[in-house]
Amino acid sequence: MAERNRPMREALRMALREEMLRDEKVFVMGEEVGIWNGTHRVTQGLLEEFGAKRVKDTPITEMAIAGAAVGAAMMGLRPVAEMMTINFAFLALDAIVNHAAKIHYMFDGQFRVPLVIRAATGWGDQATATHSHTPEPIFAHFPGLYVGCPSTPRDAKGMLKAAIRDDNPVLFTEFISLYSKPGPVPDDEDFIIPIGKADVKREGKHVTIVTYGSGMTWSTHAADELAKEGIECEIVDMRWLRPLDMATVFESFKKTNRCVVVEESLPHFSFGSEIAAQIQENMFDYMDAPVKRVSAMDVPLPYAHDIELMALPSTEKVI
């Protein structure tokens, strides 16, 4: 299958463009997605190619963006709404969790909400306390929603396409720190990575690292370092936080009997908590050691560069 190296933002753009070409009902809306070409340049060129009907710049109204996208989706359109960053999606929590995620259930299947909400997540380079959240685990708490978060350009393309084609609401978060990282991306216009499938990104037998998104960066570096000492890490990239593919984790764990969870998010009531809880619940007899968790420190992210980096996970912390 033909593929080319592209940064993640381009892979995402490819997915959007292909789906827009494939299906008239797919359209993009959000703050600065059009004339500005997208704050993170994911939607670059789409306005020019598809026009203002399919690429809608909105006011700075996260509640209404998410809510209007829900309404349009109920009508059978397939909106891809962008939250400039996930931090602003806090303002749309009600629209996402209490509307998008509940409507199919609450009206007992009468309506579908084939909606994707894309949002840039994570460390934003001195973006400070309010603009540096990595809260997808929080959204994944709520049933009715799917939550995806790719770690490679390839996954980004395949996962976003899956999200757009799915009939359920999907929160799709994209790490700012990964947008510019290149990787091979298949040309195939039907390249899909199914919702809810984790991926073993590296095989190993001594310890399982469970992670997603930016966690892959530290995990891979750590695994490289540890390999030098003869420790072979198996890395499970969860890809989706909901549904959570624990089967893949358990399979790996049965082999390694040890696990480290790596995430950029805050330590408590988070991704690592859930993974650790499920492992001890289901793999108790396979555990050689407790599951360790590496995450950001339990503080808001500060502005000053050096202490900002201290607060984040790192390869050293993983090791």
Binding site: A64, A68, A72, N98, M106, F111, G144, D166
Partner: protein, 323 residues
């Protein structure tokens, strides 16, 4: 009004009576613990607004509202059996018993439901309107809004969005002067709510007497025509709730007894239309009586249907979380 046919007026009368009887029966059923839970928001007193507004629509048009939704569902022609079953949390309800009284909906009637989060349905209305334009239909959306909900951020963001995109939405504020126990003077800096249209450069549909079904129909019809071609309109319909905020409201109507009395005595929407009919059509009383009777039978049927319907099962509990 010259052009309104007798049958039309009678049909409106029928709908209003049906709503009133339905709501009154629900109130009883709640007291009899056949309808349970803590929420039940009756439409009694508001009938002319719902009926007048929805009679201005085609079946291809769209309707959405908040939790005070049974009356709207009835005016939209949704089966009263299914509505009543929903109130009782039965499998045969419009939402399979999973939505309850605040979440009646009917896809086939383009009735997109009642919503319990104040303001939460307003961007949905904008989105439905967006889809109408996207699909290049000339359908419109009627979105009802409580007066108190107009202070909420959802209102502001949604109405502004509808204007900049010229969406075919008729926003109808049902101004019953109060949200739960808070008077409009205490919650809105601007008490003439239709004036909020100015903040969006939106067509101001003005204030209408929400107890006069004919007046409501006229104003909404004009707004609908405008919305189909041009863009959104904001209308304020002055009305009153007869039964407190919901069944859990035990004090408001006592506090405001005089005001309530005044509205019930002198501004009852059913009485107003009845007077008009009696003046205009000699010997119509019989027809009115027949309507009343038929409505009572229908409500009783709905009640029986609801009572006899099965409750949801574990399968229902876990179904439709995802498609």
């Amino acid at each position: 009004m010259a052009t309104l046919k007798k049958e039309t007026l009678l049909e409106w009368y029928r709908q209003m009576v049906l709503i009133r009887l339905f709501e009154t029966r629900c109130d009883e059923l709640y007291r009899e613990k056949k309808i349970t839970g803590v929420y039940l928001h009756l439409y009694s007193g508001h009938e002319a607004t719902g009926v007048g507004a929805l009679s201005a629509l085609k079946t291809t048009d769209h309707v959405i509202t908040a939790y005070r939704d049974h009356g709207i569902a009835i005016a939209r022609g949704v089966d009263t059996n299914a509505i009543m079953a929903e109130m009782m949390g039965k499998r045969t309800g419009t939402s399979g018993g999973k939505g309850g009284s605040m979440h009646i909906a009917s896809r086939e009637h383009n009735f997109w439901g009642g919503y319990a989060i104040v303001g939460g349905h307003l961007p949905l209305a904008a989105g439905i309107g967006l889809a109408c334009r996207y699909n290049e239909t000339e359908d419109v959306v009627v979105s009802f809004i409580g007066d108190a909900a107009t202070n909420n951020g959802y209102f502001h963001e949604s109405l502004n969005m509808s204007e900049i995109w010229h969406l075919p939405v008729v926003w109808i504020i049902e101004n019953n002067l109060v949200g739960m126990g808070t008077r409009i003077e205490d919650s809105s800096g601007q008490v003439e709510l239709h004036k909020r249209a100015i903040a969006y450069g939106m067509q101001d549909g003005g204030r209408v007497d929400g107890q006069d079904v004919i007046a409501v129909n006229k104003v909404v019809s004009e707004a609908v025509a405008y919305a189909r071609k041009t863009g959104p309109v904001l209308i304020e319909s002055m009305t009153y709730r007869y039964k407190g905020h919901g069944v859990s409201d035990k004090t408001y109507d006592k506090r405001m007894a005089d005001e309530l009395h005044e509205w019930m005595e002198n501004k009852d929407p059913i009485e107003i239309l009845k007077r008009t009919l009696l003046e205009k059509y000699k010997g119509i009383q019989k027809e009115l009586d027949a309507i009343q009777k038929a409505a009572a039978v229908q409500v009783e049927e709905a009640t029986q249907y609801g009572l006899e319907s099965p409750i949801p099962t574990y399968e229902d509990l876990i179904s439709n979380v995802y498609v």
